[in-house]
Amino acid sequence: MFACGGSNLRQHATAADVSATLLVDLSTQISAAWRDAELAALGASRTQEDAQEGVAEVRARYAPLGIAYEAVRLAHAAYVGAILRAHSQGGTLGASAAAELADKWRALLTLASSRGVELAAPPEALLHLGRGPP
């Protein structure tokens, strides 16, 4: 655990701001590449069956990438949430981040499962931290 307050939190907020810009650009590029790949598979197919097969192949290829992006996005959301929580409630950033991450990880597992991507369960230690001190 580490305590962060005042100017340190300001640096974290700036880091979160910069990484948000990167993630927005990244999501735009992934979405565009995914769409182009599906359009290419569609264009290369003459029949409904071939198109279904080609597009399904592209979706299977991009689904793990989509989950990976979502993992980073949720981790970033947890980071921002932790900064907000530490800033407003005065706790340590470490404890706030653990609690936020545990919540987001559960959301990620649900999403991955719905898209047929298997992820390992979060470490028990993280879930324990997420429950907060007794």
């Binding site: 701001d17 979405s31 069956e49």
Partner: protein, 87 residues
């Protein structure tokens, strides 16, 4: 914005445009990676400059939170598949 900050902002705009040009010329994943890396660096400098003197509240309020991937195009793709002739 001071004269110096205006100069830096213009320089960053120029670097950003250059990064996009490099990305488009190199093409493919490598081009995108090069463009993205340079863009990240310029964004980092621009954001750090923009955040000078701002409070934590102001910085946090200005963050554009990334959204889930946009896969709405898949509805059109599915419709186009259905419109193709069967074997």
């Amino acid at each position: 914005m001071t004269e110096h900050e205006q100069w830096v902002t213009k320089a960053l705009d120029g670097i950003g445009a250059g990064a996009e040009l490099i990305g488009s010329r190199v093409g493919g994943v490598a081009g995108a990676a090069v463009g993205m890396t340079i863009k990240l660096l310029t964004s980092a400098i621009a954001n750090a400059m923009r955040n000078q003197g701002r409070s934590v509240d102001d910085i946090l309020a200005a963050i554009a939170m990334p959204k889930p991937l946009d896969t709405s195009f898949q509805a059109d793709i599915d419709a186009a598949i259905a419109a193709k002739p069967k074997k």
